[in-house]
């Protein structure tokens, strides 16, 4: 027991209360720390389990879905074109004097658009006839033609449209 006869300082209080509060604080701190570690562990486990689940797809908005479907259908139609027959028909009709400039199949219209150059009208018509003989094409006709005046050889540029056989 201390002797307290100080004229300035207040008598010292017992340390028991302070030590008790300190011990209690340490116990609470340890419990809180333990709880924190458990929660952190649980979070890690939940995150690990979630990463093993299949990724949940976000619902696509209806508007986007229609667009996606149209695109998918277009791609499917393009893939469904009888490319082999079509290319065979164009190659079978080919002649050295005929220059094919553009070949545009249209799956939706079931149509083949060919742009080509010929040195004269006879060569153009011969080419048209050969295309018409192809088993892959039907209703072959010249959609447009023009003489290229700026070219000194005066070639004939023409566009042929033909229906593609065998498409739904």
């Amino acid at each position: 027991m201390r002797l307290e006869l100080d004229y300035i300082a207040a008598p010292r209080r017992s340390h028991v209360l302070g030590v008790g509060v300190l011990v209690l604080s340490i116990v609470v701190a340890v419990l809180v720390l333990e709880r924190y570690r458990n929660i952190k562990l649980e979070i890690a486990q939940i995150e690990a389990a979630e990463s093993m689940l299949p990724v949940e797809r976000k619902p696509i908005p209806r508007k986007n879905l229609d667009g996606e479907l149209k695109n998918a259908e277009a791609v499917m139609r393009q893939l469904a074109l009888p490319w082999k027959e079509m290319v065979g028909a164009v190659e079978g009709a080919a002649r050295p004097e005929i220059a094919v400039l553009q070949m545009q199949p249209d799956a939706q219209l079931r149509q083949l658009r060919l742009t080509a150059e010929a040195p004269n009208e006879k060569a153009m018509l011969d080419y048209l006839a050969r295309l018409a003989d192809s088993p892959a094409l039907a209703e072959v006709y010249i959609a447009s033609h023009q003489v290229l005046l700026e070219d000194p050889r005066r070639p004939l540029q023409f566009t042929v449209l033909a229906r593609l056989k065998g498409l739904p």
């Binding site: 027991m1 201390r2 002797l3 307290e4 006869l5 100080d6 004229y7 300035i8 300082a9 008598p11």
Partner: protein, 238 residues
């Protein structure tokens, strides 16, 4: 001075001398002055420290205040202590500043002395007076006798304070004139006889190393003079 590690100044104040122990972290520096005006020296010395003043027993009077069940408030305790001081020391005790400990030991100092010490620390100054305590308090708190009964002996110039401490409380306290340390043995024997048959033959001595009376078990404080008062306050804090 760092606010985290403030310097502490422990002052041993006697009527004709003053000793300083300046403590900064683990470093202790000491100085001692014999002077007719120790308060003035104290005023000149303090700068920005926390200051503890330990009072010589030549400046303090003691009394045992018996327990009284009828007394309950601090004011009543003070009045009871004042009554005993007046009974022992007469009218001059009317103006003394009294302190009463829980173990029924009371002390009194001249209020002018306390005011003079306080005036060494102006309100705007950086030094701070944190404690004014009698040497008996500093020495006892350093000693910590525990459950044993023993005499606490404080030796000063021409004076000795003998206090009998027991687990039940303070049994007696005497401040006596002493011509020389060799008289202490006789003084202890006499006080032990006055205290009765059960009085212990054990003593703890501060302030000197006089010969022990025959059959007595005497321990000596290692705190050196003339700083023993101040050093006992330093040590009692640790």
């Amino acid at each position: 001075m760092s606010r985290l590690w403030p310097e502490r100044l422990y002052v041993s104040l006697e009527p004709d001398s003053v000793a300083f122990c300046r403590v900064h972290r683990k470093t202790v520096s000491k100085s001692f002055f014999e002077t007719e005006s120790p308060i003035q020296k104290l005023k000149e010395t303090v700068k920005d420290e926390k200051v503890t003043v330990v009072l010589s027993n030549r400046l303090v009077r003691y009394a045992i205040v018996p327990f009284d069940a009828a007394v309950s408030t601090p004011e009543e305790e003070q009045a009871l202590a004042r009554f005993h001081f007046l009974r022992i020391y007469g009218e001059r005790a009317k103006t003394w500043e009294l302190r009463l400990s829980g173990c029924r030991l009371a002390c009194g100092i001249d209020s002018d002395l306390l005011n003079a010490i306080k005036q060494c620390f102006p309100a705007r100054g950086r030094a701070r007076l944190v404690s004014v305590q009698p040497w008996l308090m500093a020495a006892y708190n350093h000693w910590k006798p525990g459950t044993q009964s023993a005499w606490l002996v404080l030796l000063e110039r021409e004076r000795a304070c003998l206090a009998l401490a027991s687990p039940k409380g303070w049994q007696s306290v005497q401040s006596l004139r002493l011509q020389g340390e060799e008289e202490l043995a006789e003084l202890l024997q006499r006080e032990a006889l006055r205290a009765g048959d059960g009085a212990p033959r054990k003593a703890m001595v501060f302030g000197g190393r006089p010969a022990a009376p025959a059959g007595w078990q005497v321990s000596y404080s290692p705190l050196e003079n003339p700083y023993s008062m101040a050093m006992s306050a330093v040590a009692s804090r640790l």
